[in-house]
Symmetry: C4
Subunit: 249 residues, 4 copies
Amino acid sequence: MDEVAFRFFQEKHFEEAALVVGLPGIGSVALLAADQLISELKAEKLADVYSVHLPARVFVDNDGIAGLINNELYCYEQEGSAILILTGASQAQSQEGQWIMVQRIIEEVKKMGVNFIITMGGYAVSRLVDNPRVLGAATTKSLIKKYEKYDVLFGHGEPGGGIVGASGLFLGLGKLEGIEGICLMGETSGYMPDPVAAKKVLQVISKALELNINYSELDEKAKQIELIEEQLKESVQKSESDEALRYIG
Amino acid sequence: MDEVAFRFFQEKHFEEAALVVGLPGIGSVALLAADQLISELKAEKLADVYSVHLPARVFVDNDGIAGLINNELYCYEQEGSAILILTGASQAQSQEGQWIMVQRIIEEVKKMGVNFIITMGGYAVSRLVDNPRVLGAATTKSLIKKYEKYDVLFGHGEPGGGIVGASGLFLGLGKLEGIEGICLMGETSGYMPDPVAAKKVLQVISKALELNINYSELDEKAKQIELIEEQLKESVQKSESDEALRYIG
Amino acid sequence: MDEVAFRFFQEKHFEEAALVVGLPGIGSVALLAADQLISELKAEKLADVYSVHLPARVFVDNDGIAGLINNELYCYEQEGSAILILTGASQAQSQEGQWIMVQRIIEEVKKMGVNFIITMGGYAVSRLVDNPRVLGAATTKSLIKKYEKYDVLFGHGEPGGGIVGASGLFLGLGKLEGIEGICLMGETSGYMPDPVAAKKVLQVISKALELNINYSELDEKAKQIELIEEQLKESVQKSESDEALRYIG
Amino acid sequence: MDEVAFRFFQEKHFEEAALVVGLPGIGSVALLAADQLISELKAEKLADVYSVHLPARVFVDNDGIAGLINNELYCYEQEGSAILILTGASQAQSQEGQWIMVQRIIEEVKKMGVNFIITMGGYAVSRLVDNPRVLGAATTKSLIKKYEKYDVLFGHGEPGGGIVGASGLFLGLGKLEGIEGICLMGETSGYMPDPVAAKKVLQVISKALELNINYSELDEKAKQIELIEEQLKESVQKSESDEALRYIG
C-alpha cells in the first residue's frame, strides 16, 4: 500500500466536475451535509481511500463486521458534468499527513475532470446560534461575487485564524493546481453535531449547483438534537434549583 | 535495515496457513495467549521482525545478554497447513508505524500461504470480571456464523470505538489483500495481566483450529494473579480500617 | 508537490547575493524587520515556498480570499549583486521539518548566487528593555570583526542555549555549503511584537549592506505598541488600587 | 544532505577497531568519559555526523562562532588496530531517528573495520552513591565472562527496563551486523553530571583495551561537583533551620 492508496470501483472521466468535501470536523457540519448530499443524490461510490495518515483503527458495525477507517469518494452524474463527494470517518492525524492526503486526492480527482472544489465546515462561535450564518472563503473574487448572491458572508476578519485541516488545504492546494475553490462554513456552537448548520450549507450548495435537495432527514436530526439540548438545559436547571435548595435548607 | 526488516531462520511455504496475532495490549490477554500457544504447540521460530517503528530499546535478560526489541514469527505445521503465531515485546509506537508494520508483515506471511488471520486482544470493562465473555469482530459474515458456535459474541455496539492498533489493522489490511480475519477479545478488567481472559480466547481458537491445548500454565498464572489481587484487597481494607481507627482515636 | 516546493515567478542569477532571513519568532523581531526591508527596498517577489512541514492551514484575507501558508522569497537588485529576503507566515513545525526546509532553501538560493546569509531574530530577556542591544553569532571570525564595528555584541555566553530554528540552521547548514553567515538578534522582552528591536537589527543590516532605510513605519508601530503597553500598565495599576481599596474597605 | 550525513576529514581503514560510544545521557556519564578518553588519547577527529534527527539548533561558542549540533567521530590508532570514539551534543530526538542514526553510523564504522562496540552510560538509582558500581550488558556470553574480571556486574534484573537510546541500539543493531558489543553503565544518582561514575566506567575500558589513562581531569571535575553538592546541602540545612526558627518565633 502506498502512503495514500485508492481502490476504484469504477473508472470515470468527466468534461467537468465539482468536488464537494465533507469530512469530520467542527459540529460535524460537513459530515452531516455530505451524508445528506450522498443519500439525496443517490450518489454511487467510486473509490475508497486508505492512508497510513488515518488512525490505526478498524470500525466494527452492529453485525460485528470490521472494516478499515477510510475516506470515500462518491459520484453523481448529470449530463456530461458530475459532482464528486468526498467523505469519511477521519481526516489525516498529522499536519504532514493532511498535506499529503489532500494533495494525492486532488491529483486523482483532477485526472477525473474536477475543475472546482467546494469544501464544507463548521465555524465555531462557542454560543448557541439560532439562525446560523454561512461564512465563506474562496480562491477567486468571481467566486466570492457569485456566492454572495446566496447570502454567504466573506471576509471582515472571519474566520480569524484561517481555515485549518482538509477544508483549507483543498482550497490552497487546489489553487496551486489551477482548480478554483470555495469553503462554506456553517455557524455553529461547536458543542454538538449541528444539522441546522449543515442544512444552511447545503442550501447554498444546492442553489449554486442547481440541485434539488430534500432536507427532511436533516430536519429530523435537528429535532432530535434540540430535544437533547432541552433535556440538558432542564437537568442543569434542576440541579441548579437543587443547589439553591441546599443553600437554603 | 529497511523500515521493517525480516530475519528468516527457515524458509517455509504452505498451501494454507492461519496467522494468529498476539501482541502486547489490554490485560496482556493476547500476549499471554500467544505465549501459551507457542509453548503448547512447541512452535518453531521462523523469523525475527525489526522496525524503526518499535521503541529504541534493547532488553537485557537475567544473564546480562542484550537483544533488540522485535516481533517474532513462530510456526506450527500440521499436514500441509500451518499455524503461524506472531508475538513480540511491543507494537509500533506511532499510528503510521502501525500501518506500515502490519502491512509489511501481511505481505510476507501472504507469500508463505497465510489465507486466514486471527487477532487476539483484551476488551477492557474497567471492573472485575468473574466469567469473561469473548467478543468478536470479523471481516465476513460466514466467519461470524462459524465463531458464534464457539460462544463468541458479535456486534450490538461492542466494541464501541472499534479496534485500535495491530489487532484491528491485521483484519482491515488483510481484508484489502483478500485474507479473511477475525479478532477475538477476552473481556478483562484491564487492571492486571489476565490469564483467565487469555484462556477463554485460546479455548475458542483451539476449537476453531482443532488444537489440543493444555491450560495448566495459564491456570497457574491465574492463581498467582488472584493471590496478588487478594493481597491488594486486604491491604486496602486494612488501611481503610486503620483510617477508621484514626478517625475514632 | 515535493516535500518542499518552489514556485518561481522569475528566474534570477547573480554574481553574488546576500540572503536576509526574517521568519516568525521571538517578539516578531525578524518578521517586522523583513516586512520593513521588503517595503523600503520595493523588493520584488521571486518565489513562493510551500512545504508539508508548514501548518496545514490557509489564511483568509479581509476580502475572503484564501491562500496557503507559505514562505516567500523577495529580491532587491543592485548592480550585479542582490539582496534576497526570505519571509513567511510560519517556520516548519517539526525539528526534522526545519532541517529539511532550510536545507532545500539554501540549495535553491545557492544556485541563484547567494554567498552570504544574514538571519534575524529576537533575543528574549523576559523584562522590558529600554535600549535594546543587538547580539550576534557568526560562522567566521572576520564577520564578527566586521559587525562589532556596528555595535553588535558577540559571545560571552549569549545566547546561552544557542540559536534554535531557522535562524540557527541557516547559519549551520550554510556553513556546510561554504556560505558565510551571521545571525543578528534584537534584545526584546518577548512579551509583544517589538518594532524597536526590529529597527535596531535593521540599522545594523543597512550599515553592513549599505542600504538607505527609512524607519518611520517601524517607529509608528513602536508608538502603537507603547500605547498598548501603557494602557496595560494603567489597567494593572487600577486593578491593584481597586484591590487595595477592597482590603481597606 | 541525507537523513544522516557524514563529513570525513580523513579516510581510514583498520584491520580491526573498537568503537566507544559516549553520547549525552543520564548523569552525563558517557559524555564525560568520552571527553576524557579523547583528550587523554589525543584522538584525532575523523568525521562530523549531521542529521535531521538531531535538534534544529546551532551552538554558539564564547567567541560568538556558531556551529551545527552534530555527532563527532574521533580516532586513536595503535599498531594496525584502532579505537574510534563517537561523541556529540545530542542523541536523535525521536525513536525512529535513534534507529536510523545508529544504523547509519554502524554501517559507516563497519566499513572502517569496527568489529567491537563499547557503549557507555549512566545507571540512575535516584540516591547519592558513594562508590558507584559498573553494570554491564553484552551481546555474547564470552564478553560477559571477560568483563566480569574487571568487576562489571551483569544481569540479576539490572537494568530492569533494558537500555534505551543509542547505548542500547548500538548493541542490538551491531549484533544484527555481526559486531559484538557491550554496554558499561556507571551507577549514578542521576541528579548531576557524575565524573566519579565516568571514571569508574573508563577504568574498566582502560583495563579491557589496555589503555593508559590519567584521571586527574575527571578527579578535578568530581571535586567541583562535590563542592556544589555541599553548598546545596548547606543551603538546604540553613533554610530548614530558618524554617524551624520561624516556627519557634
